[in-house]
């Protein structure tokens, strides 16, 4: 399902003294089956934008289109039923989506809610507990009696369990240990490829945005201000710094090395592998001269 934003505006608490404009005139489109990263400074509107994608928030102005459903300020909640089944959101704070008595029940809730029989849901839950690197004995524990990173893993499992076709991830690796971070980002990527998921990742890790995304959307003060491939976006260091964003470590290192060489060492290094190859190649050539 393709997604698009047309002149989307959103205000929290409209008509109260706390009214707060969070989005202004956001535009953009996300192709079915693509991987999009959304980056932006604290408070730039990333989470607010994501919450529009399954109708948890409805735009104050403009239209959010998900597949063939238009979401506007007038859309009724029951019109969003079909979308809710397709769109899985991993929230920024895992505590906001955990609620059942046990981890197992929590993970089973999504699939059962969409009609999957209990036994199958339970099987899925146990598979996911393993896949997300959780200790086997968490199944019967309360999701609130877990460490922060363990809660995060349960929240992710609960979303993957109902097999959405659009996967929305709001800083899914915050709180994960380094191995968990790597493995779970790889897991999302594998699912993205194998099941042709439309994946949207909000992240403060420029490295993850560079490595995984087909496209990047930059948010700044409630507006969509820049979009393009990682190469395009991260070639534009000056623009990014206007939006108080920096370069991925790989690209920043590449720039430092290029200063030494006084010339480019090739395409933008979006992964550590690419960087190591480019730098070693360039040093070899330099040595042979």
């Amino acid at each position: 399902m393709d997604i698009s934003f047309q002149q989307v505006g959103y205000s929290y608490a409209v008509g109260t003294p706390f009214e707060k404009r969070a989005l202004y005139d956001v535009n953009g489109s996300i192709a079915s089956g693509s991987y999009t990263a959304i980056i932006g400074h604290t408070g730039s509107g990333k989470s607010t934008l994501l919450l529009h994608l399954n109708g948890l928030l409805k735009p104050t102005d403009g239209v959010v289109r998900v597949g063939d459903v238009n979401i506007t300020s007038h859309t009724k909640s029951k019109e969003l039923k079909t979308i809710r089944k397709q769109v899985g959101i991993v929230f920024q704070f895992p505590e906001h989506q955990l609620f059942e008595e046990t981890v197992e029940k929590d993970i089973m809730f999504g699939p059962m809610n969409f009609g999957v029989p209990a036994e199958e849901a339970r099987t899925r839950a146990h598979e996911l507990i393993k896949l997300l690197g959780l200790p086997e004995d968490v199944a019967k524990k309360s999701p609130f009696d877990l460490s922060g990173g363990q809660m995060r893993r349960v929240a992710i499992a609960g979303v993957l369990a109902f097999q959405p076709s659009i996967l929305i991830l709001d800083e899914p690796t915050a709180g994960l240990d380094p191995r968990g971070r790597k493995e779970i980002m790889e897991l999302f990527y594998t699912l993205h490829k194998e099941q042709n998921l439309t994946t949207i990742l909000v992240t403060h890790s420029m490295e993850d945005a560079a490595q995984y995304a087909d496209n990047i959307l930059v948010m700044h003060e409630g507006r969509s201000v820049l979009s393009g491939t990682p190469e395009e976006v991260f070639s534009n260091a000056d623009k990014l710094s206007e939006y108080r964003l920096g370069l991925p470590r790989t690209v920043a290192f590449q720039r430092d090395i290029e200063k030494l060489f006084g010339k480019s060492i090739g395409r933008l290094a979006l992964t550590e592998d690419q960087l190591a190859i480019a730098v070693s190649q360039a040093l070899k050539e330099e040595g042979e001269r």
Binding site: T42, F93, Q150, D177, P178, D256
Partner: protein, 281 residues
């Protein structure tokens, strides 16, 4: 050097309905000196947040003793001790009590009997330090993730604590915001001798610490200076951790036949060596 915190054979098991509950903290001992910056690292569930809660006296060890500011932590001492500590919890939502940002930051000052004339500037200053001065009357629960973390940090700084415990306090900040907050804390350490215990998964932040405590399955696995800890790359990987970017890159470059002599923790050091060995002949 003067001790500010010590744990002596501390163990802790959460009360649950499990038949065989395991120890979240298992025979942990270490000492922190006044003015040190300690990074605590470890896999998810290794016991870091439990340690933080024990140090604050939110619960007491089943075995062993904790001494803070040279006093044993117990029901009699906990309030006085806590009034000299600042903590930022892993989930900022769990620590908000005020209905506005400024009330929230003021709350613990009020509790500690700070007079009103002193309180107001301290609240404003600490919010300004984390760039949240424009949000004074916002509801803390109705902020973005990073803004919540900033307010929680301001709350801890306003206490003017002697010891600051940060439990993944910057995990949702953008890279620039993270650097800013760390700089504020580092300045306080230098200027006022603040002791910092920072629980983090950010290996680049670990490099700023004087000493690192590596937790694994409830036990202390290693302690040492960052460069000592990161010399054990394979061990760290085996317990779910990793090396900083520059060390990882050095390893990769060696695999590609680049001759790198030293162990480099930062990009700057690595670039310097590449410069001296390849260009500066």
């Amino acid at each position: 050097m003067k001790e500010i915190l010590s744990l002596d054979h501390v163990s802790y098991t959460y009360e649950t309905e499990d038949e065989k509950p395991h120890k979240a903290i298992d025979d942990v001992s270490f000492t922190v000196q006044d003015g040190e910056w300690i990074a605590i690292v470890g896999h998810n569930g290794s016991g870091k947040s439990t340690l933080a809660k024990l140090m604050m006296g939110l619960m007491y060890p089943n075995e062993g003793k904790i001494r803070v500011f040279l006093e044993e932590l117990n029901d009699e001492t906990v309030w006085e001790i806590r009034s000299r500590m600042g903590i930022v919890f892993q989930n900022p939502d769990n620590q908000f009590v005020g209905s506005t940002v400024q009330d929230d930051v003021a709350f613990s000052l009020e509790n500690n009997g700070v007079p009103f004339e002193k309180m107001v500037p301290r609240v404003l200053d600490s919010l300004a330090q984390v760039q949240m001065e424009e949000f004074l009357d916002h509801e803390p629960h109705h902020l973005s993730g990073g803004q919540k973390q900033r307010v929680a940090i301001a709350g801890a700084l306003a206490m003017e604590p002697q010891m600051l415990i940060l439990d993944e306090a910057t995990s949702m900040l953008d890279p620039q915001g993270r650097d800013e907050v760390i700089r504020v804390v580092d300045d306080l350490k230098r200027a006022k001798g603040l002791t910092v215990l920072s629980i983090t998964h950010d290996l680049e932040e670990v490099l700023l610490a004087d000493r690192v405590i590596v937790m694994n399955e409830g036990k202390v696995m290693m302690t040492g200076k960052p460069e000592e800890i990161f010399a054990h790359g394979d061990v760290l990987e085996s317990i779910g951790l990793d090396l900083p970017f520059a060390s990882r890159l050095s390893r990769e470059l060696r695999k590609h036949g680049v001759n790198i002599q030293g162990e480099h923790m930062t990009e700057k050091e690595l670039v310097n060596e590449l410069w001296t060995s390849h260009f500066n002949k």
